[in-house]
Symmetry: D2
Subunit: 390 residues, 4 copies
């Protein structure tokens, strides 16, 4: 009945760093999330060093003022390059719009800073490849913000699959539905134009599902797909005039992993009734696992071996608890919830561990390139109306 | 609080039939199910005529003896042709193996008998087309046994879609998983050979999902797919020797309906943890509907209009009741269950109504041909590695 | 993959009965349900004798006409006593209003007829006791229509408990909610008066929950309760004038079984959002079971032994299938549904087995008296504001 | 598509406080949780003042060392009285064992410190009353750590009830099950003795359920209950010798609120299969609400008005989002999760708002006394075997 926090994932300071000095670029939702992760990481993982919030960048003055009060940054600035090149900063969080990632990452890497960058990493394959190169060249650690991979549920599922608990994977059935674009009057924006770097449901949402599939089941081998735009015009936010939408509202894809296993997936931001229905059913030769991010505190597990007594077998609802990865860092009592922000703390924990132990963080820019390649293949398959081999 | 049965779907006897004399061919599970449907139909729909169970055919003597006791057939026989050609029979139920459907249907149609035939209708497109022709030529009514379409839940869903309750359909996400072939030691049989008429997960199971998709959302326009055989060999039932499996264990497909709506589907008989997970999520511009045959007494409904108050909106669990189609024929109290066998009674009710009112029964052989065409396109797409336009 | 019906529960004809001749009293919903059960029982259990539908009684002529067409009774009558005393009838189904049960049962028993009587057996303890006596005196078999006990799910649960699968029971948490009286404009009727034999939520609904608790966990030892009437007046159906309601809308009770295990229960016909939420969670020293009649095709099972690996343990959803009691009599394929009417067939199967094998049917009048005693104790406890020891 | 944090609940600094200087007493799980709440509160609510972590008290040196590194306290100490009486501290968090609450609260109040105290507030009614008095006398603000009341789901439910969304409440059906004492080999401890201040399932767990019931539905009027100890002996942790358990393993209670509404509840720490199944169904005259802490990111809502179309009505699953209380302080995107630790931040937010605006925090010591009175009545009712009027 005595319940105490149990701290896992505490890093060794193998590189003898004195403290970690942080700059955060962009203070929208994600900038705040990164900052609170930096703020809470030490308590969560009992880091052997302190973190200093050094510089906050945002283009908007009100935003800067708000977050300057919320957090204890040493300085705030409207000049991102100053942050990327500063001498008193070891690591930057890039939380600005996608099309800016490349030049910020380049500047930060050249200045020897480790980079925690939000996803998607870039708005073109060329930029993504350049980001991999520049990071490698300057030997900086990188981490991409695919936070959903970092929940105790998903980490537990990854372990179950890796240990062969459900046998060889035969099928991955993925889904990602949100409903925030269902209303045809949601206004047009640069996000819905190719020129503006709009990525559509495929890039914005599908990237989470695709990366999760690859992380859990391995790289794609071949894929076929169809992208669709249902609401082909949306009203301009100011004039109300109808403007052309250039990005997809939804896509479906199917294909195989390198292992030979089949996958099927569908993603839509017209997903009526759903807020965060990012999930899957993974079937193997010895069992199966289901997950839905809307109920991130649990997963469903079927174990075939129990089948010898079919009369008492069935899918189990497993509630996460301290026996699952990193849950105990937040709460010793099972059945409680690790929230969205805490996935981000687990993410920063993995990144700082990689920095301090001079190790590989997952997913880094190179891993991200693999995701981008798969996303591009899905886009190409739909554009060209044929199977694509990766 | 007073609860009385409410009988819907009572037919008029427009053709002045005196009674309906029935022959049942094949007394496996489906033969018995047809027979009990014939037996209970009158009480369920208050038919204006009597049904007579005239003849039972099965090749196996023990089976004939068992069912001769269970039911009150006037005669039992080992000669199916005698039943198809008998003068004292108006309608036959064909419940024999798939490869026999064509010749029995031909004989029955030529003899002027109405035909209630189990699905899939035939083992080749040629046979399916011939069945349509012979039935049309002889003016007999036909009905195919796609029983899952006949549950109150599904009929209610069909009505909701048809009335525009969820707007224009934008996506159909279908699934059909059973686990009865998961064990690699399930023995080989003729059903797993092309020559023996084996149809694989695509034909045996997928036909239910595909027909449901077409019934609810309209004909397919184009499709791309991948079939897979995971357990490529299975032991011979008698010798234990490993034999080649020629049929698919699972398939995934995606494509569009003629309406332009997108679909995604997956079917497998290696579906760990599932017994009868035939279901879908249908998304429209005004709402969405989810269904799973494992919980056939309910469906999930999301109505976007409620979204004006997002804080109190969400997917509803609607329990079936007497305000849904045909439920009241079985039970006046909502929340109770109409069982598997009762879907078959609703099916026979639709068929007898079509006979007595000289109307179209759905799905008849012609409707079935549309399903077979879609199934064939999925097979061809996988074989040829390309999109197929129907 | 070959699926055939499997018939369990086939009785031996130990008493050499030639056939079973049936009279049905009262043709409301339950009368029809009894009749279809009599009609389908032979096919379901492969009974060694025929059933004859001899006489149908109802006070209403239209009702008689309707059901005379639906079913093949040899005669219809408006005189129940004629049926109870007829020479050509072996067994009667009593499906008339509750206050009539006693005199019909008395007449039938005196005439040597076996009695299948709907619940609740009587409107007073005195009547209930008299029914037990007269049946015993005349040596007739009796069966009460507590149909929910007869579903494959519940019978499977009973077996799991009896075999010690969940250890010693420590708690029964019962619920029964329906919403059909939520609207305060549901009119007044004799059912809401004590004089008219109204039993309230306690008698009408609670009797199902209480009998289920006793069947699964054993007799009550002590109980305390509170009954409540929320809508104390309801409009007269014809005049609209508000009339006093004398029966309860809801009750809660708690107490112990003779085993010492604790129970908690609540029943209401003001149960917003529920249609047939009759269910429970039974907790034992080795596991637990949950059930809800609204999802009668499944139950939830937790097995503590799996707890050694807490990270993969949780409540299982077990879908009913042919490995559960009597499921295979209706369908060979798991995950399908046995409907409400089919529970009644399982019930008649148990009754006919008791008749033919000269055995005890459960629950008979004597078992029913135990239920009535518990119901009365709950009523008394609320009336007297104190614990009652049974 | 642009998602930004939305900060609600920002307090005005009406009392002109310069900063808030905090002492935390006891660094078990709850001490850490309080500390991170103090640490994150400013960013979450954009507090107009800074928080300083001044002093950490724990009796255990290793614990002190661990948390001294995790958090930035100015000093650590093994002397709680020093913290309670310090001049440089404005507010204390009391997270030590229950029996210590009274003397710490007394010392802190006498020294003018505001008090955030973990529940249950005291181990006797006398102590609880004394705590109310001393806080009132010295005019300090108090807050009790009933954190489950502070989740966005529960706060949304509270608002729905308060606004009459489900009409007049007719029934509260509460449950609280955890399984951490199921194993009979869980060792004995002081917590299982009356002398040691053990409160049993009633005090430890039931207090959450009872306080939630009172918060949502109002004070209890009368109650009847039964407490039970199933495992009456447990092995001594060191000797293995069996020792007497003096506290309850489970209890059931029923009664009425002052409004007249009925309640039923059950709580157990032998609740097989459950980790954090704290929940309820609240039924009203116009709808109903269900909640389960194991799925804290959603609640179920039934609205009777939709009943005019019964064919499309049912319980809705409402996912929490930024339109629910305080969700937007943590995440702008619905369907994500606010975790356990974040409830504690909402709690500290309410407390600091009360301090800065010189207002009432809920639940304070006086509110807690009402909960304690109800808990005591449940204990007394079981001890005395009779109804208790509060």
């Amino acid at each position: 009945m005595k319940r105490e926090i149990h701290i896992a994932g505490q890093p060794e300071n193998k590189i003898g760093l004195e403290k970690l000095r942080v700059g955060v670029l962009g203070m929208g939702f994600m900038g705040g999330t990164h900052t609170q992760a930096w703020q809470r990481g030490k308590a969560t993982f009992n880091w052997p060093i302190d973190v200093e919030l050094v510089a906050l960048f945002d283009t908007d003055e009100d935003t800067r003022d708000l977050h300057a009060n919320r957090f204890d940054f040493q300085r705030v600035t409207g000049d991102w390059r100053e942050v990327c090149e500063a001498d008193d900063i070891d690591v930057v969080s890039i939380c600005t719009p996608n099309f800016t990632h490349w030049e910020m990452a380049e500047a930060a890497a050249k200045s020897g800073k480790h980079i925690w960058c939000e996803k998607p990493m870039a708005t073109s394959m060329a930029d993504a490849r350049a980001m991999v190169s520049v990071a490698q060249e300057h030997g900086v650690k990188t981490m991409l913000g695919y936070n959903y991979m970092k929940s105790p549920s998903l980490l537990a599922i990854k372990d179950l699959i890796a240990s062969g608990h459900i046998g060889e994977i035969t099928h991955f059935n993925g889904i990602y539905l949100e409903d925030f674009m269902c209303d045809p009057n949601v206004p047009h924006s640069w996000r819905l134009t190719k020129k503006g770097g709009g990525k559509g449901a495929l890039g914005d949402m599908g990237s989470h599902l695709i990366s999760m599939a690859i992380w859990l089941c391995g790289p794609f081998k071949e894929v076929v797909s169809r992208l669709q735009t249902i609401h082909t015009e949306r009203p301009d936010a100011s004039t109300g005039e109808m403007r052309q939408v250039e990005t997809d509202d939804q896509f479906s894809a199917l294909g195989t992993f390198e292992s030979g296993a089949l996958f099927t997936m569908h993603t839509s931001w017209l997903g009526q009734g759903h807020k965060m229905n990012l999930g899957f059913e993974i079937t193997g030769t010895k069992g199966a696992i289901k997950f839905d991010q809307e109920r991130m505190g649990e997963f469903q597990l079927f174990e075939m071996d129990g089948n010898s007594e079919m009369s008492t077998n069935g899918y189990k609802t497993v509630l996460i608890g301290p026996y699952h990865p990193f849950f105990g860092n937040f709460c010793p009592a099972p059945g409680h919830h690790v929230g969205f922000n805490e996935m981000k703390i687990i993410e920063v924990g993995a990144f700082v561990k990689a920095i301090l132990e001079d190790d590989h963080a997952y997913p880094n820019f190179k891993d991200g390139l693999l995701f981008e390649t798969a996303i591009q293949a899905i886009q190409d398959s739909s554009d060209e109306g044929r199977w694509i081999t990766l």
